[in-house]
Symmetry: C2
Subunit: 430 residues, 2 copies
C-alpha cells in the first residue's frame, strides 16, 4: 500500500488527508497539536469573544470515519529526502512514498527577535490566551493606577501590521474598550483607551485588497476611534512601547501581526527557500527534484504561471492546494500525468467590528463594505468551520455578544497571572 505522510493538520494538511479518503493509500497525519485550528477566528479568542474549543476541532474526530488515515501527535525532527523517511523528535521513523509538508507559519520579527519579549504574536491558541491575559491585565492595572501618565500608558495598545489580522484586532480592541468594558470599571473610563494601528505600506490591507476597500477599512477603524498610522516603519519595540521615525507610542501592550515565517521544518529539508523561509515549489506544488514531496499552504512559496508574487498565506490557498495534491497523488497511482495547480481566488475579507467589514471577490470586481460585508464575512466563516457543534457555538457566542455588548470569555487564566499586575504597573510608571 502506498504510504502518504502529511505534516501538519491545518487547512492544507487536513484537506489533503480527507481528499485521499477513497485513494488506495495509507495516510499518516503528524501534528504537534491534537486539533485543527480555525486560524481566521483566532483573534476572537485573543479578544475574549470565543473559547478555544469553539474554533478548534480534534484531528482524530475529524478523521474518525476515514479508515485509511492515522493521526500521530508528534513533532518532525528531520526529513531524509533520499531515504524517504520522516523522523519524529522522539525517534520514531515514518517511511513514505509521498510526503506532504503543510506545517504552516510562525510569527516573524524580521531579524528583531529581541522584540519578541515586548510584542505579542498571534499564531496559536497559547498566543491568543496570552494576548487575552495581557489585554485584560492592562485594564485591571489601569483600574488600580493612581498616576495618570502611567494609566494612559496602560490603556494604550499598539497593533503593528495593517493586514487582515491587524485590522481585525485593532477594531476588536477599540470595541472591547468602548462598549464591553465601559460600565465595568470604577476608577478608569475605558473610553480613554488608545488603539494605534501601525502599517509600513501606504494603505491598510495592501496584500490583495482593492485600494477602495483599504480606504473604507481605514475610515471605519477611525470611526471606532483607532489611530491609523500609514507609511510608518517600526524602529524599536521595548517595554516602553513602539518607536517610529517620528514618535514614540508609549504602550503597555504591543501586538505584532506584521509578518510570518515558515515553520522550521522547511529549513531541515535542504532545499531552496525564499526570504520568509518558505519552500519554493514547482507548478504541481512539488519540491524541486523531489516529485514525491509536496509543500502546500503557508510553508510553500508558490508563484502562479505568469505571476511574480507568490500566493498569499490564506486558508483558501492551503485548501485548494491540499485538494490538488490529493488528486495528483490519486491520479498518479492510476498512471495519469501531473497537472499544474491553478488558484481560484474566491475573494478576501476582513471584519472591522460590529456590523463592519470589507470584502471582495473575483479579483476585486465585486466589492462590499459595511453591514453587508459583515454578514457575508460572518456566514462564510461559519460555513468553513469544522463540526456542527463549533458552528452553533460560534454563532451563539456572536449573537450573544451582538445583543448584549459583552464578551463571553473574559478570563484571565494562567498560574499566578495576578502577580504580573504589579510588574505591569511598575513598568508603566517608569
Amino acid at each position: 500500500m502506498t504510504r502518504v505522510v502529511v505534516v501538519g493538520g491545518g487547512f492544507g494538511g487536513l484537506r489533503v488527508t480527507t481528499a485521499l479518503r477513497r485513494a488506495p493509500v495509507e495516510v499518516t497525519l503528524v501534528d504537534r497539536s491534537n486539533h485543527h485550528l480555525f486560524q481566521p477566528l483566532l483573534y476572537q479568542i485573543a479578544m475574549a469573544g470565543l473559547s478555544p474549543a469553539d474554533i478548534a476541532y480534534p484531528l482524530r474526530s475529524a478523521l474518525r470515519a476515514q479508515q485509511n488515515a492515522t493521526v500521530l501527535l508528534g513533532e518532525v525532527a528531520r526529513v531524509e529526502l533520499e531515504r524517504r523517511v520522516v523522523e519524529l523528535s522522539d525517534g520514531e521513523r515514518l517511511a513514505y512514498d509521498y510526503l506532504v509538508i503543510a506545517a504552516g507559519a510562525k510569527t516573524n520579527f524580521f531579524g528583531h527577535d529581541e522584540w519578541s519579549g515586548a510584542a505579542l504574536g498571534l499564531k496559536s491558541i497559547d498566543d491568543a490566551i496570552e494576548i487575552r491575559r495581557r489585554v485584560l491585565l492592562a485594564f485591571e492595572a489601569a483600574e488600580r493606577e493612581p498616576d495618570p501618565e502611567a494609566r494612559k500608558r496602560l490603556l494604550t495598545f499598539a497593533v503593528i501590521g495593517g493586514g487582515p489580522t491587524g485590522v481585525e484586532i485593532a477594531g476588536a480592541l477599540a470595541e472591547l474598550a468602548r462598549t464591553v468594558m465601559r460600565r465595568d470599571f470604577r476608577h478608569i473610563d475605558p473610553s480613554m483607551t488608545r488603539v494605534v494601528l501601525i502599517e509600513m505600506q501606504g494603505r491598510l490591507l495592501s496584500g490583495g485588497f482593492a485600494p477602495k476597500l483599504s480606504d473604507e477599512a481605514r475610515r471605519e477603524l477611525e470611526e471606532l476611534g483607532v489611530e491609523v498610522r500609514l507609511d510608518t516603519a517600526v524602529e524599536r519595540i521595548d517595554d516602553r512601547g513602539v518607536s517610529t521615525a517620528t514618535e514614540t507610542i508609549e504602550a503597555a501592550t504591543v501586538l505584532w501581526t506584521a509578518g510570518v515565517r515558515a515553520r522550521s521544518v522547511s529549513s531541515a529539508l535542504g532545499v531552496e527557500l525564499d526570504r520568509a523561509g518558505r519552500i519554493r515549489v514547482e507548478a504541481d506544488c512539488s519540491v524541486p527534484d523531489h516529485p514525491e514531496v509536496f509543500a502546500i499552504g503557508d510553508i510553500a512559496c508558490f508563484v502562479p504561471d505568469g505571476g511574480h508574487a507568490p500566493l498569499p498565506g490564506v486558508a483558501q490557498v492551503a485548501l485548494q492546494q491540499g485538494r490538488f495534491v490529493a488528486r495528483t497523488i490519486a491520479a498518479e497511482l492510476r498512471g495519469a500525468p501531473r497537472a499544474r495547480f491553478r488558484y481560484l481566488d474566491k475573494g478576501m475579507m476582513a471584519t472591522i467590528g460590529r456590523s463592519r467589514a470589507v470584502a471582495q471577490t473575483w479579483r476585486g470586481r465585486v466589492r462590499l463594505g459595511g453591514f453587508v460585508a459583515w454578514i457575508a464575512w460572518l456566514f462564510i466563516h461559519i460555513w468553513y468551520l469544522i463540526g456542527f457543534r463549533n458552528r452553533v457555538a460560534v454563532l451563539a457566542n456572536w449573537a450573544w455578544a451582538y445583543f448584549t455588548y459583552r464578551r463571553g470569555a473574559r478570563l484571565i487564566t494562567g498560574e499566578g497571572a495576578w502577580r504580573r499586575l504589579p510588574e505591569l504597573a511598575a513598568r508603566a510608571r517608569t
Copy 2:
C-alpha cells in the same frame, strides 16, 4: 461610609458582596482571579466536556450594576487585625471597618507535598486544563506505544478520594474512554482503559450522604467499569503510580481529590486554626475576639450548635454564610444585635455519568438515584450558574455530548505540550 473588604470572589465572597447592595457601605472585593468560578462543574473542564468560559463569570460583570462595590485584582499579603488594614502583595493597603475572609481552599496532600508532582489536584481552571492535557496525552502516548505493558500503564488512571469530585471524575473518565474515545484511535482500544477509585473510608461519599446512596454510587461506577477500592489508604504516589498496603496500581495518571486545606491567608491572621488550616469561627461566623472580621465558606471551620463536625466545604454553606454575614453587617449598622448562623441543608448530590447520579435532600430523608437524580443534578447546576450565557452554553454542551457521545473541548493546549509525550512514554516503559 462603612468600608467592607471581602477577600475572595467565590460563592461566599460574591454572595456577601451582592447581598450588601442596598446597605450603606462601600464594598471592595479582592480576588486573584478576574472571575467567579463555578467549582462544582470544574471537573467537566478536566474531562473535556466544557470550556473554562462556560463556568467562569467576570467578577466585574457580576457587580457591574452594583454602585457600592469595587473589584480589585490582587493577592492579600497580610492582614493587620489591630489596625484593621489588609495589605496586598503589591503594597496597596485597604482599611476596613468589616472584613470578610472567603478565600477558599486549595489541594491538600496531608503532609506529603512530594506527591504534588505525580498527583494532580483540581481547584482552579489551570488545574483542570492540566488534567485535561495529561489525560488526553496519556491516550495519545498509548496510541503510539508498542510495548503492551507500557500501554497498559498509560491507560490506567488512579483517582484518589471517593467524595463527590472523585466519584464524578472516575465516572467521567470511564465514560470518556468507553464512549467518546472509542472510534478515534487506530492502535489502541480505549476500552482497555482502567479507572481505579481509591477511598480511605469504608464507603464512597461518606461525608454526609446516606449509606444507601454510597452503595448505589459504587454499583453505578462499577457498571461503568470503574474499580472501586474502599478502606484503602494510599502509602505512596510516584511516577509509577499509586501504592497501597496490598498492591501497586501502575498508573501514568494520578488524580487527587482526597482533601483540601484552607488558603494560606488564614494562617496570616494569627488566630486559631483547625487541622485543615481553617479559621475557627463563632456562631455568627466572626473570628474570635474580632467581631468585625468574618470567615465564611471553605476557609472557615464552623461547628453548628450542638454539632461536633464542622460544616462541609460545599457551595451551599458558603452561599448561606455569605448572605448571613451581609445581613449581620446591615443589621448591626441599624443597631440590631447579632444572630447565630443556622445552616439549612438543602441536600447533596453527585453525578456518576450519563443518566446516572445520586442525590438526597432534607438530611437524607428523600433519596434519589439513577436518571431522576441525574436530571435533578443537571437542572440544579444550571440554576446556580451565573449568567444567561453560561447557562445556555453549559446546557447546549451537555445536550450535544448526550446525543453525540462526544466531548466539545478535547484540546491539548500549552506551549510545547507535545514534548511531554516522549517523557510520558519513557516513564511508562521503565
